[in-house]
């Protein structure tokens, strides 16, 4: 009985298959290759069914396919818990559903699943391009949904696309209103983490060559917007990690449980003046550390402050993340060092690198203060033939610092920082390696600082009596241009800047047009991230407060209802507007008027009765009206059927005949 409605039009099938592949594409690199094969087989199968060559899978086949999909995912990922396996399962379910797509209700399941696949893409990236692409897939899925309700369309048709586009556009303004008004609250329960995504950026340990390899990448690490003036590039030391421990040539940071309870809280730092305010939007790193200028305090909810004065997120940064911070670069950090801290920051392996130790002793013996020692080591780096290079070569001996200091003398920032901290500690100056980024590119379009992976840097901090922790960058002694102008300048003679990425737009900064385009797009990305991606509870509160003052339930409800009325009214009007009643020609209109009058006296015209037949009946029933009715009928027939311009009598005559016709009510 309901078979007519339940059929899936061919046009809809085409749109469904198109949207399936569109949904798959952004996930393609994230899922095992065999899932792609499942897709292709599914589509071929369904098309063959449509052509009548193959048949729909039986129950047993379906069960076997579902189970093998499940175990396939399990085998590929090692588990089915986690975001990626879930997405892979969703995609397989999506493909298998297509094979058994018979009726319209199957198509609904398939398409709603499609919307959900679309959402999962956002859990991996909320990039502007990903968003634009997702809009495209949403339009496709919606088009398939519309095509499903246009029966009889056996050929591929664009009309469904048009309607889907119009509806989505009409839905857009309200969506924006709800987006900004809907209250944001935290997660309701813990969600599977993206255990399978590679971590990017700095890691929590460092051995020689690590930062150099990170510097091969042109990816953006984070973008910063300063509230006021942008400090000079040489002041932009973005601290992310502090390495306090050296073990077997590897610097690493202290774990959470290695810090005694009494040392967990950072000590109060006396600040002076306003400081520098800025907000940072980080690209996902799957790591916990955040980047800030020394000494930083963040008011953003959820940001922690570590005892070594860094900012830290309790959960890994899995998607674009925005936080605000304020820094006081001139403040004295930790003027009093605790016993535990002093011991920790002085600790060296008991043996090894004897050359470095004795060199430090010699330099320390020549000078009379710790500050002078620092200066002397820096001038040692600048006077001796040290070489700043992205290709330092591997250090093979067990005394790597000695090998670097006296043998190769080729190094990237981590070599210099590492050697400097080692030497300082060996003469009793508390010191540590700090890793993060240095500098950044200022985008003139929107005055943001773009920090790339190749800005990765490592430097040192020494603790001096009365001055607290002081930043020392040994690299600046070897290659001052690195600090002033960035990596590209520093490596200009070597030509190794982004050598492995010939297509990176950053290599073409000298071409004005290309560079302009790149910076504009980056500004757009920043805008996107700060307004849409970084929109959280605080941003929401600030925005609403700024626009409407005090937020109360009344304001909220008024806003909601008001915006709905504003958006829905024009749509409703455009859809439901009547064209000044129905277009009906005056001749028919007056004849119908006449019929209506006749029906008042109980002589309604029967369905399908021609004017002549009707007249014949009226003549029998009310002979006294026969003459008038005959005249009206005759006029009507003549005007209606004589053809344009041929009628002898006029429409006016007919209208007046109808108007003057009064049926006799006394009959009833």
């Amino acid at each position: 009985m309901s078979s007519l409605v339940e059929q899936v039009p061919r046009n809809a099938l085409v749109w469904i298959i198109a949207s399936m592949f569109a949904l798959l594409a952004p996930h393609a690199l994230r899922i095992p290759v065999w899932v792609l094969l499942v897709y292709i087989v599914a589509v071929v199968w369904r098309i063959q069914v449509h052509r009548g060559r193959w048949s729909f899978p039986g129950r047993v086949v379906k069960v076997v396919l579902t189970l093998s999909g499940f175990f396939g995912v399990m085998a590929s990922y090692g588990s089915v818990i986690g975001l990626e396996p879930t997405v892979a399962l969703l995609l397989i379910a999506f493909a298998l559903k297509l094979v058994e797509l018979v009726k319209r209700k199957d198509a609904y399941v398939l398409l709603f699943l499609g919307y959900f696949v679309c959402i999962t893409e956002f859990l991996f990236s909320q990039d502007l391009l990903v968003t634009l692409y997702s809009i495209f897939t949403v339009v496709l899925v919606t088009t398939a949904l519309v095509a499903l309700h246009q029966p009889g369309q056996q050929r591929f048709s664009g009309s469904s696309l048009r309607l889907a586009g119009v509806m989505l556009l009409q839905a857009l303004p309200l969506m924006i209103v709800i987006f900004f008004l809907f209250p944001r609250f935290g997660p309701l329960w813990t969600v599977p983490i993206k255990s399978h995504t590679a971590k990017t950026g700095m890691s929590d340990f460092m051995k020689p060559g690590d930062v150099a390899s990170l510097s091969q990448s042109d990816e953006v690490a984070f973008r910063v917007k300063f509230a006021g003036e942008i400090p000079p590039a040489s002041e932009l030391y973005w601290r992310g990690l502090v390495f306090s421990r050296l073990r077997q040539g590897v610097w690493s940071s202290l774990g959470y449980y290695e810090v005694p309870a009494g040392e967990m809280r950072p000590r109060e730092v006396a600040t002076n003046g306003e400081g520098v305010g800025y907000s940072v939007i980080m690209e996902p790193t799957q790591q916990n550390w955040l980047y800030s200028l020394q000494y930083a305090v963040s008011g953003t909810a959820g940001v922690m402050h570590t005892p070594d004065y860094r900012l830290y997120s309790p959960g890994p940064i899995e998607s674009e993340y925005m936080y605000r911070a304020r820094s006081w670069p001139r403040s004295v950090v930790e003027p009093e060092l605790s016993e535990w801290r002093r011991k920790t920051e002085l600790k060296l392996p008991p043996l090894g690198n004897d050359g470095a130790r004795s060199l430090a002793q010699r330099i320390r013996a020549d000078v009379d203060s710790q500050q002078a020692f620092v200066d002397a080591v820096l001038s040692y780096f600048s006077n001796e033939p040290f070489h700043y290079t992205l290709k330092p070569g591997r250090l093979t001996s067990s005394d790597q610092i000695d090998e670097f200091l006296f043998d190769s003398r080729r190094g990237f920032c981590e070599h210099y920082a590492s050697a400097f901290v080692f030497m300082s500690r060996s003469v009793g100056i508390p010191a540590r390696v700090v890793a993060g980024y240095q500098g950044g590119e200022i985008n003139p379009v929107n005055k943001t600082v773009i920090v790339h992976q190749f800005d990765a840097h490592a430097w040192a901090e020494v603790w001096l009596e009365g001055r607290g922790w002081v930043r020392v960058d040994p690299t600046s002694a070897v290659a001052p241009s690195r600090i002033e102008w960035g990596l590209e300048e520093a490596l200009a003679s070597e030509g190794t800047f982004l050598a492995d990425a010939p297509l990176s737009p950053l290599r073409y900064r000298k071409l004005p047009l290309l560079n302009q385009l790149r910076l504009r797009y980056d500004a757009l990305t920043y805008q996107w991230q700060s307004w849409v991606v970084g929109f959280n509870r605080e941003a929401q509160f600030e925005l609403l407060h700024e626009l409407f003052g005090e937020i109360s339930a009344r304001v909220f409800i008024t806003l909601f209802i008001g915006s709905w009325v504003l958006v829905l009214t024009p749509v409703a009007i455009s859809l439901l507007r009547r064209k000044s009643t129905r277009e009906i020609n005056p001749l028919d209109k007056h004849y119908l008027l006449f019929c209506e009058r006749m029906s008042e006296i109980g002589l309604a015209r029967e369905t399908g009765e021609t004017p002549d037949q009707y007249y014949a009946r009226v003549r029998e029933e009310v002979p006294e009206k026969a003459e008038q009715v005959e005249r009206i009928t005759g006029l009507y027939n003549e005007l209606a059927y004589a053809g344009p311009g041929r009628a002898e009598r006029s429409l006016a005559e007919f209208i007046s005949a109808v108007s003057s016709f009064k049926p006799d009510r006394r009959r009833f």
């Binding site: 319209r104 949403v138 919606t142 499903l148 309700h149 969600v191 959280n536 409703a572 129905r582 399908g608």
Partner: protein
């Protein structure tokens, strides 16, 4: 325990609420030959698919909240507002359509009557996936894609002699997204005539003939006038008694001595002692027989006389008289 005792009050309540609903619908959408759908006549409510979609939206919202993903929020809200916008589109898809009852084909009991409905669009707007359905009848799925009205034929089985009213016609659509169902129940004031059930009657022992002057004259058993003879070459094939041939009685010709002047009257009084319905059934049978044999016949019912004649129109008049005999609306 008596099951009926429980179900009966419920059935009673059901019946009453249905009656109340019918009454309400009747007031709201009174019967009319032509109905243009407007907000008074259109009902709209989320469909079962819409409820399913709503659950999907809740899952999406949960995902957005738990992953704190703003774009997931965005997409979820976009689909929510799409749902809302779809309300207007679904409504507009039905609004403005004019339904017109064109005709209903008469039928015999047990057969299906064909009802023809014309759908016309009111504004320059396409209407898609309109499902028309009469309770107990067939359904149709149509689009109105241009200015030409669309004619739809629906079949409904009819039961008893007289006027058959198919009840309210359901017009529904879930276009364009299937999330909402928009429907109306219109009474197009259309009815089909149901003829009496034809029942054979072995012979016309009571058939009366009509003299040219119009005076009734009994011709019972008059062989010259009404009978059969063996077929001879040259006899019109129209006068061959095909029924007898089929029974294996050989080819016989219906013989008329003066069929130009004289003809048969089918008379109410020919079936003495039978009930009204039986008489009508037999008369109906003979009207069809004579019509098939291309013989002139007249019809006499109490209060109604149809002069002898032949032809489609004549047959229809006769059948109509039989169909409506004794009912309040007499032709």
């Amino acid at each position: 325990m008596n099951v009926g005792a429980i179900t009966e009050p419920f059935a009673e309540w059901r019946r009453r609420s249905q009656a109340r609903f019918r009454e309400w619908v009747n007031r709201r959408i009174p019967p009319a030959r032509e109905v243009t759908l407007d907000q008074k006549r259109i009902f709209i409510f989320p469909s079962r698919v819409g409820l399913f979609f709503f659950i999907c939206l809740l899952v999406m919202l949960m995902t957005a909240i738990n992953f704190e993903s703003n774009l997931s929020y965005g997409l979820t809200f976009w689909l929510v507002t799409l749902f809302i916008i779809a309300t207007l589109h679904t409504y507009a898809n039905l609004s403005g359509i004019t339904l017109r009852a064109v005709r209903a084909q008469p039928a015999f009991p047990g057969q299906q009557s064909e009802f023809e409905i014309m759908l016309e669009r009111g504004r320059r707007r396409d209407h898609y996936a309109l499902r028309l359905h009469w309770p107990h009848g067939s359904e149709a799925l149509v689009n109105i894609l241009d200015d030409d009205p669309v004619r739809v034929r629906l079949h409904v089985p009819v039961a008893e002699r007289g006027w058959y009213s198919p009840g309210r016609l359901l017009l529904e659509s879930t276009y364009p997204l299937g999330l909402l169902r928009c429907w109306t129940w219109v009474d197009l004031d259309i009815r089909a005539m149901v003829y009496p059930r034809p029942l054979s009657w072995p012979d016309l022992s009571g058939a009366s003939s009509d003299a040219p002057d119009g005076a009734a004259e009994l011709v019972v058993g008059d062989d010259d006038f009404f009978g059969f003879r063996n077929y001879q070459k040259g006899d019109s094939l129209r006068h061959v008694n095909w029924k007898a041939l089929a029974k294996g009685q050989g080819m016989q010709t219906r013989q008329y001595t003066a069929y130009a002047e004289r003809c048969v009257w089918l008379d109410w009084e020919m079936f003495p002692g039978l009930g009204v319905e039986q008489r009508l059934s037999h008369l109906c049978y003979w009207v069809l027989e004579f019509d098939a044999g291309q013989e002139e016949y007249g019809l006499r019912l109490p209060g109604f006389t149809l002069e002898p004649d032949l032809g489609e129109r004549h047959k229809e008049t006769a059948l109509k008289a039989l169909a409506l005999y004794g009912l309040e609306e007499h032709p």
